[in-house]
């Protein structure tokens, strides 16, 4: 059997999604971003929406998302992606408009934009990567940083008197009448990846059906920021993040 015999379409069990650009990613080993990017690329392809997609990138590690997915992108100012997406979707209602944001972007500096876009029920999807830390700027405390969790701006662990409580913004967004689908997923196991893919697809379908705002939170790891190996990060996430941010649908209308 030659190599050419093996590389045969009939034997194909897995391929890179065509919408993924063939460039090296800047994400650290073990980071959840790459997996979520791949899922988005697959879904846009499955839905045949490449020509109709306007994606909004955040400030944070996800800022370079526009390098990896072969669709039109706008990179928003820090936290403002839901406002940018609001205008794009209102002016081009037949487009698939989604934001891709981290916890600092969505739940700290952009809280107002997030809440009001959701409250207006903008027909957009929000993909929310929650790793409890500011990855890009070097591991500072985020609004979602857990109690006692160490970061470069909470070197002895987050305390309530100094920093307040971890913000469960997804739970908050589920309360708003403008949201139609609010779910929390993860990508640490194959089963979880499959569930997340279904969730993102549902969010995209909702926005095209004009049902309101959909939020898919992906509880994620940040090996570099957490200063753990990728494997230990996954274990730590299951043990510590999941109790604070339990997986599952918070709203599904």
């Amino acid at each position: 059997m030659t190599t050419n015999d093996i590389i045969n379409p009939a034997n194909l069990v897995y391929a890179k999604a065509p919408i993924m650009n063939d460039v090296p990613m800047h994400y650290c080993p073990g980071c959840s971003h790459g997996v979520v990017h791949k899922l988005i690329a697959e879904i846009i392809g499955d839905m045949d929406m490449q020509e109709k997609t306007i994606a909004i990138a955040p400030v944070g590690c996800g800022v370079f998302a526009y390098k990896y997915l072969d669709v039109d992108w706008q990179q928003a100012a820090h936290g403002r992606a839901p406002a940018v997406a609001t205008a794009a979707k209102r002016l081009l209602p037949d487009r698939l408009v989604f934001t891709y944001q981290g916890d600092g972007d969505l739940a700290a500096i952009g809280t107002a934009e997030t809440i009001h876009a959701c409250n207006r029920g903008e027909n957009i999807a929000i993909i929310f990567i929650n790793n409890g830390i500011y990855g890009m700027t070097g591991g500072q405390m985020a609004p979602t940083t857990l109690g006692g969790m160490k970061s470069s701006t909470s070197p002895n662990g987050r305390t309530v008197p100094l920093n307040g409580h971890p913000l469960d913004i997804t739970k908050l967004l589920a309360q708003l009448d403008g949201t139609c689908y609010v779910t929390r997923q993860a990508v640490h196991t194959i089963a979880a990846v499959r569930k997340t893919k279904k969730a993102i697809q549902k969010a995209f379908e909702n926005s095209m059906a004009g049902k309101g705002t959909s939020i898919v939170e992906v509880v994620s790891t940040c090996s570099s920021g957490w200063k753990m190996t990728p494997e230990a990060s996954n274990d730590w996430m299951v043990e510590n993040m999941f109790p604070a941010y339990p997986l599952g649908d918070l709203k599904n209308e």
């Binding site: 490449q50 997609t53 669709v71 100012a77 403002r80 406002a83 205008a87 794009a88 002016l91």
Partner: protein, 368 residues
């Protein structure tokens, strides 16, 4: 009254400057307005909401949760090649500076209206021109410029709305209408611009090949971003921006002269101060004192060359502003020490009266 001066009353309307902007925006094919209420310009959004253009032209009008959100909605709309705008007054425009810097960096066309009120801080709601520096020197972070138009009448509020969009799309850069509370709140006669249809998506795709309308298979993705981690790449962006600003300076200067041909003294003012100063000039002329008025219509690009030429002819100049003295710095740069340039200003929402300007003209220029 002579026959020639009679207007066709069907076409001439009476309205506030703020209302004129709303009407003109709808008529010139604006796609989206995003704003947050603040005195003295709330009539802009109120008028649009009353006119409901989404039922006629299809224009989107949305009240945002903040000025921050408004300007970022403008960013999103402009990134799609849509004619989009926001309006606010001084404190709100301060809040927008981040977004304006991004829009300039992203080379997106849009219109920002600032109907200025007295500051700093929450200040007053009365008219001011103290945001001149903010408008023409950048305002937000980084080296960028805004095309800045300074209307002095309700008619110009309408005309400049159309012009600002034209210039913004011509140069792919944000344009600002820098008005003051008086021009926004006063009613005058106005002839509104004719209706022009909104751009179709095909027209946008042709005129704005950079717009994020969704990526067809035949082209590379369009990416609106303002980030370059490579300093040399970022410098290239800056060099391109600066070249564009020089081109704007060469091509787009607008100003108006009143009785300047034989002037021995020159008054310079924009917006309301030009109107007030014109009356003071008339009072001087009635006494045979040869005073002229130069009114910058574009503040960026500034009429540096025109003012420089006058520096060779007049004995001295006076700038009149509702600020502590901002535009006067640009006048002095243009004059470069050849003749004295005096300044008179009122601050915090106080408007100089024609008599005040007349007295200053006599004491600081004529009887010096």
């Amino acid at each position: 009254m002579s026959e020639s001066k009679k207007h066709n009353t069907e076409e001439v309307r009476l309205m506030k400057g703020n209302e004129a902007i709303a009407h003109a925006a709808i008529r010139c094919g604006c796609d989206g307005y995003f704003g947050y209420p603040i005195t003295p310009q709330s009539e802009i959004m109120e008028t649009m909401m009353e006119l409901e253009p989404w039922n006629t032209t299809g224009m989107v009008v949305l009240q945002a949760e903040s000025e921050t959100s408004s300007i970022n909605m403008v960013y999103g709309a402009a990134g799609c090649g849509k004619k989009s705008m926001t309006s606010s007054s001084s404190p709100g425009v301060s809040l927008m500076q981040e977004g304006i810097s991004y829009i300039a960096a992203g080379e997106l066309p849009c219109l920002i209206v600032n109907v200025m009120r007295g500051g700093p801080g929450l200040g007053t709601i009365q008219p001011s021109q103290a945001d001149y520096f903010q408008a023409v020197k950048g305002g937000g972070h980084g080296d960028y410029k805004l095309i800045t138009l300074a209307p002095a009448s309700v008619q110009e509020m309408a005309d400049h709305t159309v012009l600002a969009f034209e210039l913004a799309f011509k140069y792919r850069t944000p344009a600002m209408i820098l008005a003051d509370g008086i021009i926004g709140q006063m009613m005058e006669k106005v002839v509104l611009p004719p209706f022009q249809p909104r751009m179709t998506e095909a027209e946008i795709a042709e005129k704005c090949p950079w717009a994020t309308l969704g990526k067809p298979a035949w082209r590379k993705p369009n990416i609106i971003t303002t980030l370059s981690l490579d300093a040399h790449e970022m410098e290239e962006t800056n060099i391109r921006l600066q070249a564009k600003y020089r081109e704007i300076e060469n091509n787009e200067v607008l100003y108006e002269e009143f009785l300047c041909d034989d002037a021995e003294y020159l008054v310079i003012g924009f917006g309301t101060c030009a109107r007030v100063s014109q009356k003071a000039v008339e009072m001087c002329r009635a006494e045979g004192i040869k005073v002229g008025l130069l009114r910058p219509i574009t503040l960026f690009p500034f009429p540096t060359v025109a003012i420089s030429k006058h520096a060779d002819k007049v004995k001295s100049m006076l700038t009149v502003e509702m600020s502590a003295g901002q535009m006067v710095e640009d006048v002095r740069l243009a004059v470069n020490g050849r003749v004295p340039v005096e300044f008179y200003g009122r601050m915090g929402g106080v408007v100089p009266s024609p008599d005040e300007v007349y007295e200053v003209l006599k004491s600081k220029l004529v009887n010096k």
